[in-house]
C-alpha cells in the first residue's frame, strides 16, 4: 500500500513524544514493505516553527519525507496569552480558528499538496489532534483517514472546533485505554474503527548496568527521571519530593537525563547527566532502582515503556491516567499524588527488594504482551486492511 503520514515536525533531531512516535511507526511500516511518505513542515522547534530543514523531498530510513515551509513564526507569549483568554472566556468559532492559526504550524504548501496528491496514496494517517496541519489536513482529504490523537486531558479539547477534528477521521489509533475513555467522554466514536496501539518498544539484550555505575561514579542506588526536564513535566515537584525524602535516605541519588529546560538545585544527591545515547539510557534505566514519571499530562509515556522493558518498576504521578493505567494493567508500579505518598511508595520499593523484582517482572511481561513491535505492527496491519476494504 501507499501510505502517507501527516505530522507537524519530523526528523531525527525532533524528540517530541508524538513526533518520535510518528517517525518510529512510519519507519516500521516502510520496513514492512509499504511505500511510505511523510508530509511535514521545515520546522524543528515547536516553540517558533522556524524553518530549519530545507523544503522539498528527501529520504530518511526508507521513508520519503516531503517538507513544506511554515508561513508564520509562532509568537509563544502572545499565543499563551490568547490561550489563557480563549480557554476561560466566551468566544466565537472565528476566535478558535484564530487560536489555531496562532498555534500553527501554518503551512499552506502542505495543505495544497495534500489536496492535489490525495489520489496517489491509499491511506492517510494524521498525528496529534492539536495542530493546524491536522485540522485543515483532515478537511482537505476527502477519503477515509486515520487520526492518532496522542491526547491528554487539556483545555484545548474543550474548544468547539475539536468536534470537527474527531468527527472527520474514519479510524482512530489510541495510545491507551485511558486516552480512549477520556476522549469518548467528549466525542462520539460510534461506527468508527478504533484500536489501542501505542508505539512499540525495543527490548534491549543486556544493558551495561555495572558500566553505568562506574562511568558516572555512582556508588549506591538511584532513582531515574528520563525526559525533558522542565516544570511542565512535574520536575520541580519531583525535586521537592526527593529533597524531602533525602535526609532519611542519605545514600539515595536522583539521576536526571534529557534536555534541561529549568534550573536544578545544587545538591550532592541530584545528578544531571545530560543528553545520553539510547544505549546509555537503557543502561541507566536498568541500573535504576525505580524510574519516576512525575508528569500529569501524558498520553503514553515512552520512557515508562522503556523502563519496563528493562524490568525496572515505575513510580508515577497518579493524576496522569495513562501512567496509572500502566501500573494497574501491568501491576508494574506504584503511584503518588503528594509528597507523603511519594515518600511512602518510594521507600517501600527501595526497602522491599522482592516487591521491586516482582513489579519489574510484571512490567516486562506487560510490555512484551502489549507494546512489543510485532504486536503494535499487527494492529497497524489490521488498520490498513480496514482502510483498503470497501
Amino acid at each position: 500500500m501507499k501510505i502517507a503520514f501527516v505530522v507537524q515536525r519530523y526528523g531525527p533531531e525532533v524528540m517530541g513524544g508524538s513526533e518520535l512516535h510518528c517517525r518510529l511507526i512510519a519507519e516500521r511500516v516502510a520496513a514492512s514493505g509499504h511505500a511510505v511518505s511523510v508530509y511535514t513542515t521545515c520546522a524543528r522547534e515547536y516553540t517558533t516553527w522556524e524553518n530549519v530543514y530545507p523544503a522539498g523531498e528527501s529520504v530518511l530510513n526508507g521513508v520519503t519525507v516531503r517538507r513544506f515551509p511554515v508561513a508564520r513564526i509562532r509568537q509563544m507569549d502572545s499565543f499563551n496569552a490568547f490561550s489563557d483568554w480563549i480557554f476561560f472566556h466566551e468566544h466565537t468559532e472565528s476566535d478558535e480558528l484564530e487560536w489555531l492559526d496562532r498555534q500553527g504550524p501554518v503551512c499552506p504548501g502542505l495543505l495544497e499538496a495534500l489536496g492535489k496528491e490525495e489520489s496517489r496514496h491509499d491511506a492517510f494517517i494524521f498525528f496529534t489532534y492539536l495542530y493546524y496541519t491536522t485540522f485543515w489536513g483532515l478537511e482537505r482529504i476527502k477519503g477515509r483517514k486515520t487520526l492518532v490523537p496522542t491526547a491528554h486531558d487539556e483545555p484545548a479539547l474543550r474548544l468547539g472546533i475539536m468536534k470537527e477534528v474527531f468527527a472527520r477521521p474514519a479510524a482512530f489509533m489510541f495510545n491507551t485505554e485511558s486516552e480512549r475513555k477520556m476522549l469518548a467522554a467528549r466525542f462520539s466514536f460510534a461506527d468508527k474503527y478504533q484500536e489501542i496501539a501505542g508505539v512499540g518498544v525495543d527490548i534491549p539484550d543486556s544493558p551495561d548496568t555495572a558500566g553505568f555505575f562506574r562511568r558516572h561514579g555512582l556508588a549506591s542506588s538511584f532513582i531515574l527521571y528520563a525526559g525533558r526536564i522542565e516544570p511542565g513535566k512535574g520536575c520541580r515537584e519531583l525535586i521537592d519530593h526527593f529533597l524531602a525524602v533525602s535526609p532519611r535516605r542519605p545514600d539515595l541519588t536522583l539521576v536526571l537525563i534529557g534536555n534541561l529546560l529549568m534550573g536544578l538545585p545544587s545538591h550532592p544527591k541530584i545528578r544531571y547527566l545530560g543528553f545520553v545515547s539510547p544505549e546509555e539510557k537503557n543502561a541507566a534505566m536498568a541500573a535504576a532502582a525505580v524510574t519516576v514519571h512525575p508528569s500529569r499530562l501524558e498520553s503514553l509515556c515512552m520512557a515508562a515503556q522503556e523502563s519496563l522493558a528493562v524490568r525496572t518498576p515505575l513510580l508515577v504521578q497518579e493524576a496522569a491516567d495513562p501512567l496509572k493505567e500502566h501500573c494497574l494493567r501491568g501491576q508494574c508500579g506504584l503511584y503518588y499524588s503528594n509528597g507523603p505518598e511519594f515518600a511512602a511508595a518510594l521507600e517501600l520499593m527501595l526497602d522491599d527488594a522482592r516487591l521491586s523484582r516482582v513489579l519489574g517482572e510484571n512490567g516486562f511481561a506487560y510490555v512484551r504482551e502489549n507494546y512489543a513491535w510485532p504486536v503494535v505492527m499487527a494492529k497497524y496491519d489490521r488498520l490498513f486492511r480496514f482502510l483498503s476494504s470497501d
Binding site: E237, D240, H241, A244, C327, P340, E341, A344, L348, R354
Partner: protein, 168 residues
C-alpha cells in the same frame, strides 16, 4: 516507613491494594508529623486555637495524651476529606483571585474608555462651536460680497452713463 507494615501477596500482586495501604499510611503520617510535602498541595495552615493560660493548656494536653491514638483514628477519614476540601477551596480561591484580577483590569480599561469618551465629547462640542462661528463668518462675508457686487454694478452703470455723456 517500614515495609513490614504493608501487607503484600507476592504471588498475586495487587497494586490497588498496596496503594490503599500506602495512602492510609501516608495520610496517618502526614496527620501525625508535619512532614514536608509538595508546596502546591500543602493545604493552608488551620488557624491556631486561641491559647489559654499556657500551664492549663499543657495540663489538658497531658491528660488527653493517652487518648491521642483513638482521636487520630477517629478523625483520620475526616482529616482526609478536610484536606481535599481545603485543596478544592484553595483552587477556587486562586480562580477567584484570577477573576478579580481580570475584573480590575477590565475596570481600568473601562475608566480609560470613559475618559476617552469625555475627551471626544469635548472635541465634538468645540468643533460645533467653531463650525457655527465659521458659518456666521461665511454669512457675513456673503453679505459683504453682495454689497460689493451692488457697488460694482452701480459703478459700472455710472461709468456707462459718463461715457455716454462724454461721447455725445
Amino acid at each position: 516507613m517500614s515495609p513490614k507494615k504493608i501487607e503484600i501477596d507476592y504471588d498475586h500482586i495487587d497494586v490497588t491494594g498496596i496503594m490503599d495501604q500506602i495512602k492510609r499510611k501516608a495520610a496517618a503520617e502526614a496527620g501525625g508529623i508535619s512532614g514536608p510535602s509538595s508546596p502546591e498541595r500543602t493545604p493552608p495552615p488551620a488557624p491556631e486555637p486561641e491559647a489559654g493560660p499556657g500551664r492549663a493548656r499543657r495540663l489538658l494536653l497531658r491528660l488527653m495524651s493517652p487518648l491521642r491514638p483513638l482521636i487520630k483514628l477517629l478523625i483520620l477519614p475526616v482529616a482526609e476529606e478536610h484536606r481535599q476540601s481545603l485543596l478544592l477551596l484553595d483552587r477556587a480561591n486562586r480562580r477567584i483571585d484570577r477573576l478579580e484580577h481580570d475584573r480590575d483590569r477590565a475596570f481600568e480599561q473601562l475608566d480609560r474608555l470613559r475618559e476617552y469618551t469625555k475627551l471626544l465629547h469635548h472635541l465634538c462640542h468645540n468643533l460645533v462651536v467653531e463650525m457655527s462661528k465659521l458659518k456666521i463668518e461665511e454669512e457675513t462675508l456673503k453679505t459683504k460680497t453682495r454689497i460689493l457686487e451692488k457697488d460694482f454694478e452701480f459703478l459700472g452703470k455710472r461709468e456707462k452713463a459718463l461715457e455716454k455723456e462724454i461721447f455725445e
